[in-house]
């Protein structure tokens, strides 16, 4: 551990590599976190199956690429559409019934969904760790000390593109406006003739599609495995809890920060601490939020 810290101090270029890697990975985390903030803010559903959606998107990309020989990056639109349909179906089957129940219900129901999805993925694709091969090598920088997979830059670009598309959609399309109206006051929206059930269905499906897209990128820049979803779910919760709901710049900043922190902990402490880092971050963020709240005599609710 001390050895790694010495390396970081004596070779500043290493830091550049870690930060660049962290930013690229963090951008992908931001997508799933934004999806969570969306369903949380609009329909008050805490989706604990968030990570499983990501992993499922990853498996779809991996599977399509493997069977058709397509480049996995090109499967992104297909996966997004498939996941959109999947999300809509899940909404109709179960989420519709938990929207207006108390908060724990949605958390537990989606936890159940997460278990089902993990196992289904395991039965369908097996427990092995998989990577979707993008097939382009690494980019070398700073005289060869820093080398970053080219796909990471592609992923970063894709994230900006997707985030921009979603923001534009929320701002300018009719459905986007309806979603924003519903998130502010569902009852008023209903009185004004907005079909909130459709809005909820669309929001949940959109979240699923965003997660699916993030999953495609995850399958290429990280690895996928049926049980790795939990970590992605926890990441989304860390980011959204740190940023607060409905704070898009905050979500992006926290996601990038989390990405960088994970890279550093992976380098300094070792890869076996990856999950631990994420979960400990969650606990720290929660404690910090409580401290903030207690200063104005409030609690985190």
């Amino acid at each position: 551990m001390w050895g790694s810290i010495e390396v970081l101090l004596s070779l500043p270029a290493y830091n550049v590599g870690l930060i660049l890697n962290g930013l690229c990975v963090g951008a992908v985390f931001a997508l799933a976190a934004y999806g969570l903030a969306l369903v949380w803010g609009v329909m008050n559903v805490k989706n604990l199956a968030q990570g499983e959606f990501v992993i499922m998107g990853g498996y779809l990309a991996w599977y399509i690429a493997k069977t058709t020989g397509m480049n996995p990056l090109l499967t992104l639109p297909i996966v997004a559409v498939l996941m959109f349909v999947f999300g809509w179906a899940i909404y109709v089957l179960m989420i519709r019934r938990v929207v207006d129940k108390d908060l724990f219900t949605s958390l537990l129901a989606t936890f159940g969904l997460a278990i089902v999805m993990q196992q289904a993925l395991n039965l369908a694709f097996g427990p092995e760790v998989q990577v979707a091969q993008f097939g382009r090598g690494s980019v070398s920088m700073m005289g060869g000390i820093v080398s970053i997979l080219e796909i990471k830059f592609w992923a970063f670009g894709m994230c900006i593109l997707l985030a921009g598309a979603v923001v534009a959609f929320m701002k300018f399309s009719r459905m986007g406006q309806a979603i924003r109206a519903t998130s502010q006051d569902a009852r008023a929206a209903r009185v004004m003739g907005i079909n909130t059930d459709r809005v909820y269905a669309f929001t949940y499906a959109l979240n699923s599609a965003i997660c699916g897209a993030a999953g495609v990128l995850v399958a290429m820049i990280m690895v996928i495995q049926p049980y790795y979803g939990v970590t992605h779910s926890v990441r989304s919760f860390v980011i959204v809890t740190a940023a607060g709901i409905g704070n898009l710049p905050g979500v992006i900043m926290s996601a990038l920060g989390l990405g960088v922190i994970e890279q550093y902990s992976g380098f300094v402490l070792g890869a076996e601490f990856q999950v631990a880092t994420v979960v400990v971050m969650l606990l720290l963020v929660l404690i910090w939020r409580q401290y903030q709240a207690s200063r104005i005599r409030q609690v985190v609710r």
Binding site: L107, L113, I115, F273, L282, S294, V299
Partner: protein
């Protein structure tokens, strides 16, 4: 209270009688029935937090695992070994301890597990009781996940490769029995579950029970009325973790080998079973969690092997269906159906006396 007093007494006697006879009637299923007692303990302790107090913890399994590790470490120390060396050898040390060492180690270990978990719950309560609703659920889930990961990286307690526990020595507690060890731990499990039941039954009848329910129904109001909410919450978690710690210590000794992710902190199996069982039976009631635990465990043990890999999918579906369509649970459903049986009624005679009121 769920039923009239005589009925409840009969139920208690029936359960107790079954518990005493069962290991001799079904000697092949001792371990499963012992596990059933642990499941009942799980459901009861979860319900204190989730059902009675409204703090839905997804990480109560943390105390199970913590108890398991504390008990194991104490057993090794009492056995006269250095913990670091013992775990580093990973079973290569030929464990050689006397019977007395084994039993003193076990009982001191169980006591230490219980007390240690109480301490841990007080510390965690201090840091996490400012979280409400879903945040508390996520935070506790985080605690359990983090514990599994961090223990896995802690060499002194064996890290990810775990600890093998000292084996049960022969003794003459149950002379002539084929499965002495099974019986020994079976009765310990049963005793701890029964103790849990009696303790919480008593607790819910005191002011404590009322305060827990008040916190569940409206914590802000409870604060506004001057109830020491933090005190009640901390003590409730401490009671619940006391028994969970003991169950962890016992379970570790039943399975002989403990490791962090699958055995000690199994968040998505035992950790979620607790919740599912309480909800199935009816949370916030005394007998609901027990009923839920029995049903859940029996269904699970009977169908599991026939599902050929689909059992976890089935488990997830059970949770979803339970939460989405049948949230009040069996006892809750009965209360809705037959409110008079549960003492929910208007006293017409008395209304006449106390007249002059609103509407």
């Amino acid at each position: 209270m769920i039923a009239t007093n005589t009925n409840e007494r009969l139920l208690q006697i029936a359960v107790l009688a079954f518990g005493l006879i069962a290991p001799f009637l079904f000697p092949a299923y001792i371990q499963q029935i012992a596990l059933l007692w642990i499941m009942i303990l799980f459901a009861l302790t979860w319900d204190t937090m989730g059902g009675q107090m409204g703090y839905n913890s997804l990480g109560n399994i943390f105390f199970f695992g913590a108890g398991m590790y504390i008990c194991a470490v104490v057993q090794i120390i009492v056995g006269g070994y250095d913990v670091g060396e013992y775990t580093a050898a990973f079973g290569a040390i030929k464990v050689d301890i006397t019977d007395t060492q084994y039993f003193t180690g076990l009982f001191i270990g169980l006591a230490a597990a219980a007390v240690g978990c109480v301490f841990l719950s007080i510390i965690l309560g201090f840091f996490f009781f400012g979280l409400r609703g879903p945040y508390f659920a996520i935070g506790t889930l985080g605690i359990a996940l983090a514990a599994g990961e961090l223990i896995g990286a802690w060499r002194w307690v064996g890290g990810g490769s775990g600890i093998s526990l000292p084996l049960y020595p022969g003794s003459d507690i149950f002379p002539g029995s084929a499965d002495e060890e099974g019986l020994f731990f079976y009765f310990l499990c049963m005793a701890s579950a029964v103790a849990t039941f009696l303790f919480f039954r008593w607790l819910y009848k005191t002011r404590f029970g009322l305060a827990l329910n008040a916190i569940r129904d409206d914590e802000e109001k409870a604060e506004g009325m001057g109830i020491h909410t933090m005190r009640y919450k901390t003590v409730a978690w401490a009671c619940s973790s006391f028994f969970l710690g003991i169950s962890g210590g016992l379970h570790g000794n039943i399975v002989h080998f403990i490791e962090p992710l699958e055995v000690a902190f199994p968040t998505i199996t035992f950790g979620i079973f607790m919740v599912a069982m309480s909800l199935l039976g009816g949370k916030g009631t005394l007998w609901g969690p027990i009923l839920g635990a029995v049903l859940f465990h029996v269904i699970k043990e009977v169908t599991w092997t026939h599902l050929l890999g689909w059992q976890w999918v089935a488990l997830g579906l059970i949770i979803i269906v339970n939460v989405v369509y049948f949230q009040q649970g069996i006892v809750g459903w009965l209360m809705e159906r037959f409110p008079e049986r549960f003492g929910i009624r208007v006293e017409t005679d008395a209304t006449a006396q106390g007249k002059g009121g609103a509407d």
